[in-house]
Every structure is written in C-alpha cells, then in structure tokens.
Amino acid sequence: MTLATGKVGIICCSGEDLPEGTISRVATRLVLEKLRPDQTVTLCLPLFLAGGEDERAFARVFPTISVDGCSKKCAEAATEKFSGKPVATILVSEVMKKYPHLKAKSRERLKPQEMKLATKVAEEIAKKVDEILCKTPKK
C-alpha cells in the first residue's frame, strides 16, 4: 500500500452474500476509476484483519468513507475497530430508499437498472469525497 496524503480512502463491505454488497463494491470502483480517480484510494476490507501494520494504518493516514450494503455496517465497524473512525459513512440500503424504482437483485453481474443504482451510490460517495477534501488542510 502506498501511503500518501490529500486523498480519501474508501472502504466498502463488498458483501458477497447480498446484492447490496455488490452495489457497494461497484460504486466504490466507479468512484476510484471514473468519478474521483486522483483523489481516492481503497483497500480490501478483510486485509484489516489479515494484513499488517500498513493496512491497519490506512484510516490513520487517510480520511475514510465506509460504504456498507446493509445495516450490519461491517465496513464502518471494521474500519473503526482496526484502523480509525470513518469520516463519512454511506449505507446502500438507505440510498435505495431514495430510488424505490431501482432494485438490487444480482450479486454477480449488475443489470442496467442495478448499474444505475450503483452510479447513484457512487455519486453520493464522490460528494462526500469533495466535502472531506474541502475541509482537510493540504499538506
């Protein structure tokens, strides 16, 4: 892991058992690859447990946003437990309430409607990234 400042770390739950976990994962990658590629980094969540000090230092080095699929909020809880409290949190199931016409059913490959939902979540993450970077003094 490369340590750097001026970036926001995004930790998503990637929940394998639920479609919302796939939405959290795809939304995170959309932010990293398309919406805010120069301002964001990520880390595999289970690395907090399996990894070493570099991984554990992640949230001490970067302000973080947790992105969770469901109310169990594993990404938020794990980030706080193993590294540091996230500066902002996103819950996919909450975002979905704003778009009742967009349903999440697939775990493997997102269909166009689900990709729209992932994009909506990604836009909310990007907004939080902007808010955080505006508040964070440049080093």
């Binding site: 995170t28 990520t42 447990l49 594993c74």
Partner: protein
C-alpha cells in the same frame, strides 16, 4: 451432512481483477452449478465476528477462494475457527493458464470470465468430493 452446505468464501479483493475472478467463480458455483449444495457468506461479516456467520463456518465445510497470496479469506476462516477443507488462490490457477489475461474489477473481460469458469468447475468438482467424503 444432509442439511449441510459447503460455504464458498471469496476474498472481497477489490484492488485487482483477480479478486473479482474469485468472486465471479463463487457465484457461478453457488447460483448455477451447485445451488443446492453450496452457499456463501459475507467475509466482512465473518471478520467482524457475527454470531450467525461464525456458526455457519464452524458447522459447515468451507472453501476459501483467494485472489492473491495474502489469502485473506483462508486466514479469516481459520481465525474464525471455521471448518476449512480446501482453499484455492486465483494467481496459482492463472499461472497454469498463462494465455488468459483477466482485466476489470467492475466487470470482468471475457478472459477473466473464462478463468472464473475454470475455477468454478474446479470448485464444483471439489464440492462433490467433499460431500461424498462426509456422507
């Protein structure tokens, strides 16, 4: 073992396409090849010590599917005192299939999907062996 299912646990790897290969291979098995004999669990939930997730991996045979040699899935199943019976690392399967160049995390390219299919077939075969042994 009649009511037991094999729990296939991919690693959640999000940094590289090989994490997605493991994830897609898992879904091929649990949703299409062996839906009645296999299932998955959120690795993060297991990592956080959720009671239901812990019970599931302790009472059922588990297969770890890891994207890279960090083996987060295997290590987390072991740390949870889960019944780990088999593990695979996508990088090792890729080494045997060097012509394939998997790319993409949001969506795998065709070669990534082919690699996932190879892994899924292997997982499916392994699932049959495990269930046969435990009968």
């Amino acid at each position: 073992m009649e009511n037991h299912k094999i729990v296939v646990v991919p690693c959640s790897g999000i940094g590289k396409s090989l994490g997605t290969v493991g994830r897609v291979a898992t879904y091929k098995v649990i949703e299409r090849m062996k839906p009645k004999k296999t299932r998955t669990v959120c690795l993060a939930l297991l990592t956080m010590g959720d009671d239901d997730a812990l019970k599931l991996v302790r009472e059922n045979p588990c297969i770890a599917v890891d994207g890279c040699p960090a083996q987060c899935s295997k290590k987390n199943i072991e740390a949870s005192m889960g019944k780990l019976v088999h593990s695979i690392i996508v990088t090792e399967v890729l080494r045997k299939n060097r012509s394939l160049k998997p790319e993409g995390v949001i969506e795998l390219n065709d070669q990534g999907d082919k690699l996932a299919e190879i892994i899924a077939k292997d997982l499916s075969k392994k699932a049959d062996e495990i269930l046969h042994k435990e009968k």
